[in-house]
Symmetry: C2
Subunit: 326 residues, 2 copies
């Protein structure tokens, strides 16, 4: 008798710098069960995987056991899709000093196929599978968080390049003279301006170099975060709005250069900064329009991710699992 | 009786701003017969196609008639692969003001399939088919001529983007402050510095802003061309070498940003400037090394086109013809 087990689920793992969130997801993008562990606090990758597998057991049982699960997808910082590895991830103590074959380790522990990619690539695949980029063949995902990440889709496929590390648009250099120093060791990167820390830095610079009134002056400058800028902007604070304008214009200028590369039909933005809605999206559109080659003008849409922030990363990771051809 | 005619050849058309060169090419990249007409001097696209077909008759007969020819490929400025059109080409009087369906027109006139792409894309396909990029899946072709063009290959396929116009890397903005004006109407584009006219302009700027001795001072500054710079550099002229250093460094800096997009295994350069060999290639490598994200360091090769300049464009165009799936 030839029975084929139905496998309606995949596991998505959003491996972040602080938390690791696991979700069991069906083909419609519905998260059926979820759990989490802290990412840090392990001496080795082996200890991390063991703790993860233990934490997953109850939710795996909840959906009917491991035989109902087709595959696992992982979105992780410094993830390499070709090799299924995390490589020299500066913020992961158990992976910052070498190459961890995390996909193989989970595959062995669970007995299912496992694929891994970096977090921004996972977000792009998630958006294409479940979000606003459904049906699109050419778009660029830009994630605005602690850093600025990107996932580039061309002809319906994620761009991995020759080494699996393509698509680090946060580290395109936007200012060659007097550029801000960036965490990568260089200066003038997009990330140095448009990440959460970049936005806070813009706030401090504007407060220090002008005497314009602002709600942000009530705080200790060193304590200002991008969330504070967002709250002030929500109250109509002019300086905070100016910060969004500066940040959005620069993102739009960057997108103008990206258009000359792959001429996408859309740029999709994800992350805390997008909660500001048109306060950030309008300056992005303006910056693009001002800087783009006429050939590409009015061709690309500027969209905000259609996925709920808390589940988007897990859905993106799960979509990487669905993509495994087995 | 079911005989299938053997079709060992394709026609390649290098449609340039001055001359249109036709070559009949076999699968090994050998040009069996060639002819040419002037590109300009026609009132309409119809008149151009009619003259082209007339000019091609003798070489088509020479190789055994139209039944020996599988397809035709065209490389043309402002060519759109998806539509087989030339669109608003500023330097072609019979195509500068609209959309010319040139592929369909040639297909109808000759009775064979015809594909068309822009000239730099054709060069990239030619390099992948016959040149130094054989076997490569991820590389970026950069053509240094009157303008700076590019053809981007990812995963073995040319990048056309959502509209067929992807890959205009000559118009990535390299200098946001006090950038040189560019023919596209904006400022600071790579092309404004690294095209043949850009190199001549660098020469004039260096002559005007310094009093360094140079063979170039013997000329009227307005008459200096990139060829004069090349000749002076060949004689060891220090100022001319400085011009190559400036130009190469900027190209390398641009490539560092391109690496963050598609992480190619090679950058392949084509055009007059590459005749300077290491005088230009070494500064390109230096500029790249200085500006690239450490993740991509030492991964990409910097190569000069392996195709003979006079036939490369025809071979590239013919390779577009071979790609037609019929």
């Amino acid at each position: 008798m030839n029975t084929q087990t139905i496998k309606p689920y995949v596991i998505g793992l959003d491996l972040g710098g602080t938390n690791s969130v696991f979700g069991i997801v069906d083909a419609n993008g519905e998260i059926k069960a979820t759990t989490a562990i802290k990412t840090l606090g392990f001496d080795s990758a082996e200890a991390y995987v063991a703790a993860a597998v233990t934490a997953m057991q109850p939710i795996i049982e909840e959906v009917g056991g491991i035989d109902t699960i087709k595959a696992m997808g992982i979105g992780a910082p410094n993830g390499n899709y070709y090799r299924g590895t995390i490589e020299y991830a500066p913020n992961l103590p158990w992976a910052h000093n070498g190459i961890v074959p995390l996909a193989d380790m989970f595959s062995e522990a669970l007995g299912i196929p496992v694929a891994l990619t970096n977090d921004a690539n996972a977000a792009a695949i998630g958006e294409m599978t479940y979000g606003v980029a459904r049906g699109m063949k050419n778009f660029i995902m830009i994630t605005l968080g602690t850093g600025v990440g990107s996932g580039i889709v061309i002809d319906g496929k994620l761009v991995y390049g020759s080494d699996g590390f393509a698509g680090e648009l946060g580290h395109v250099i936007m200012r060659t003279e007097n550029g801000r120093s960036c965490g990568c060791g260089r200066s003038g990167c997009l990330e140095a301006y448009c990440s959460a820390t970049g936005v806070a830095r813009t706030a401090r610079e504007l407060l220090a170099t002008t005497d314009r009134p602002s709600l942000l002056r009530e705080m200790n400058a060193d304590d200002i975060t991008s969330l504070d800028v967002s709250i002030a902007a929500g109250k109509g604070d002019e300086l905070a709005l100016e910060i969004y304008k500066f940040t959005g214009n620069l993102l739009g200028e960057a997108c103008a250069n990206f258009a000359a590369f792959s001429s996408p039909e859309a740029f999709v933005f994800f992350g805390g900064l997008t909660k500001a809605g048109d306060l950030i999206m309008d300056p992005i559109r303006e910056g693009f329009k001002k800087h783009v080659l006429p050939l590409y003008r009015d061709k690309a849409q500027f969209l905000v991710s259609g996925l709920d922030g808390s589940s988007a990363a897990v859905l993106g990771a799960s979509a990487v699992g669905w993509e495994i051809q087995k």
